[in-house]
């Protein structure tokens, strides 16, 4: 198995606060990998750093064997007190839209669907980089088959959708670009357990049948670990544990801290 995403000791700071401290992890082609941790552990920050929504101050990120973000050994160069991202050699740091163009789709925290657009328009936006109209139409039909509720509401304004429907739309929108790597930021946040289960089943199907590699961040440790092949545990911006998910589910520390067993 080859490494699709390889994160090598990256740090991210918000002002003087270090949100991530030299975090390393990798996602292999075809896997579902989850990152669990408490609120404020830095999980979302890590996802944002992958797609360059947050600049890294240390380390490097490689995708498909190519550097997409890299800071040289001296760490971040500070200019006017602002950390400037440095590029080394040919591997310049990519912008968010360029990373999306390489096949990384993010389902952002809080879904961030385009509320004033209809379901169909949201899917159109997801296919912004696709130039082939027939492919877009076909993809949309696929999404309506896959998420029937979206098909029923295709002409409806997105703001009238329920939380679960919006989450499905956010996932469908991300899939419109036929990504190789799907990043999910708390797909279960604020949803009823039954709907969470439904969404995780869909994620499983996407991974198995469309061969999309999935990296997901989740507070709900039990469902995330059950749905994934491998897992990482993050505390205060540091990875403290990493193992196969089945092992993590048995791990005493994980059980005590995240699965509610005493």
């Amino acid at each position: 198995m080859s490494k699709l995403l390889d994160i090598d000791s990256i740090s991210v700071s918000y002002g003087s606060i270090k949100a991530l401290r030299e975090v390393s992890l990798h996602v292999n082609e075809g896997e579902i990998v989850c990152l669990i941790g408490a609120n404020g552990a830095g999980k979302s920050t890590l996802l944002k750093a992958i797609v360059a929504l947050e600049p890294i101050t240390h380390g490097s990120i490689a995708y498909q064997g190519q550097m997409i973000a890299q800071i040289d050994e001296n760490g971040a160069k500070k200019k006017f007190g602002v950390p400037i991202r440095r590029s080394k050699g040919l591997s310049s740091n990519l912008r968010t839209d360029e990373i999306a163009g390489r096949g990384v789709a993010l389902v952002p925290e809080g879904r961030r669907v385009f509320a004033d657009m209809t379901v169909e328009e949201n899917l159109d936006m997801g296919a912004f980089l696709v130039r082939d109209d027939e492919l877009i139409a076909r993809k949309k039909e696929e999404m309506y088959d896959f998420f029937p509720i979206l098909g029923a509401r295709r002409k409806q304004k997105t703001r009238s959708l329920s939380g679960g429907e919006q989450q499905m739309l956010a996932i469908a929108r991300a899939l419109m670009s036929s990504p190789r790597l799907l990043l999910l930021d708390e797909p279960g946040l604020g949803l009823a357990p039954l709907i969470i289960q439904d969404i995780f089943e869909k994620i499983h199907i996407i991974n198995r049948e469309d061969k999309v590699t999935v990296f997901l961040v989740e507070q709900n440790a039990s469902i995330a670990l059950k749905a994934s092949n491998r897992g990482y545990v993050m505390e205060n911006g540091v990875i403290v544990l990493s193992d196969f998910s089945t092992n993590l589910l048995e791990n005493e520390k994980v059980r005590a801290a995240y699965l509610g067993d005493s």
Binding site: R95, D97, P108, M125
Partner: protein, 304 residues
């Protein structure tokens, strides 16, 4: 009286051009920018200087006005577009004032506060389009408005327009869809500046002189009012907004009460209109244009 209505309609057209540009920036991308007076001034002075000092034909000065305005649009856009909301408004307001002060003080180029007089009239195929014969000028300026309307409306319904709307709704989501947020914002700024520059050219030709005093920040405020009143994100609506605002601002003269109602009254009214609209009809008179069902589905293969 009739002539006066024609004059109002000509000013409506000139301001409608600026409102069309403002609509792309404010209505589509959702940026509160107050630059139109600055670009309007630049366009006016480009036409005035090129035609008076260098003897250029009006029709050559128009593309230059658009070009130079959009260059300044790029210049002001790149550093300020990372600002949001009121911060952007303040920064862009400063730009308009800087332009006006430069025009006031760069005597050798702009002739300072006296401005530039005796701008040659427009001629088209040997026919002179004089601002004294208002019908001809009216037709000319409204042709400009129609062309701008069709270009911008088409643009707004294209890929660019969809990108701008996505940026307005959610920048983070838009960039995760592969939209280069900065580039599209700057494009909106450039296009908005270009059309305001053209409006400036027409203004210079209509007054046949330019003075810095004509380009106060009230111009930017008026243009913003037109967009808010008509309806953000709807090019027809902002033309309607331009029409209403212009009629209101000339209302005292129109009804012959200009010695009773002080000219400041229109500023009070604009403020009132903005407040009333924000409370009762924030989407404007006509509201945002409904996106027609995705055009791409109905499009045959060869089109565009």
């Amino acid at each position: 009286m009739f002539n006066f209505i024609l004059l109002i309609l000509i000013y409506t057209a000139i301001f409608a051009l600026m409102a069309i540009g403002q609509n792309l920036i404010t209505g589509y991308v959702g940026l509160l920018s107050l630059t139109q007076a600055g670009f309007f001034a630049i366009g006016s002075y480009v036409t005035a200087i090129l035609s008076v000092t260098y003897g250029w034909n009006f029709w050559l000065t128009v593309p230059m006005a658009a070009l130079i305005s959009s260059f300044f649009g790029l210049l002001i856009g790149l550093p300020t577009l990372r600002l949001k909301g009121d911060y952007l408004a303040i920064a862009t307001l400063g730009f308009g004032e800087i332009v006006r002060n430069i025009l006031n003080n760069w005597d050798s180029l702009t002739n300072g506060p006296m401005g530039i007089q005796r701008i040659p009239m427009i001629s088209l195929f040997g026919i002179q389009i004089s601002p004294y014969k208002k019908w001809g000028f009216l037709v000319l300026v409204w042709i400009f408005v129609l062309v701008a309307y069709f270009l911008f409306d088409r643009l707004a319904k294209s890929r660019l327009g969809r990108a701008l709307e996505a940026i307005r709704e959610d920048e983070i989501a838009a960039s995760s869809m592969g939209i280069n947020v900065t580039r599209y914002k700057v494009w909106a700024f450039i296009l908005g500046a270009a059309v305001a520059g053209v409006a400036g050219s027409l203004q210079a030709e209509f007054i046949l002189s330019v003075t810095p005093g004509a380009f106060t920040f009230m111009v930017s405020i008026m243009v913003l009012c037109m967009v808010v009143l008509g309806g953000m994100g709807n090019f027809k609506a902002v033309i309607l907004g331009a029409f209403i605002i212009q009629f209101i601002s000339y209302f005292p003269q129109l009804v012959g009460l200009s010695n009773v109602i002080p000219p400041q009254f229109k500023q009070i009214l604009f403020g009132l209109i903005l407040v009333v609209m924000m409370i009762w009809r924030p989407q404007g008179i006509l509201g945002r244009e409904k996106r027609s069902a995705p055009r791409r589905l109905f499009r045959s293969g060869g089109d565009v």
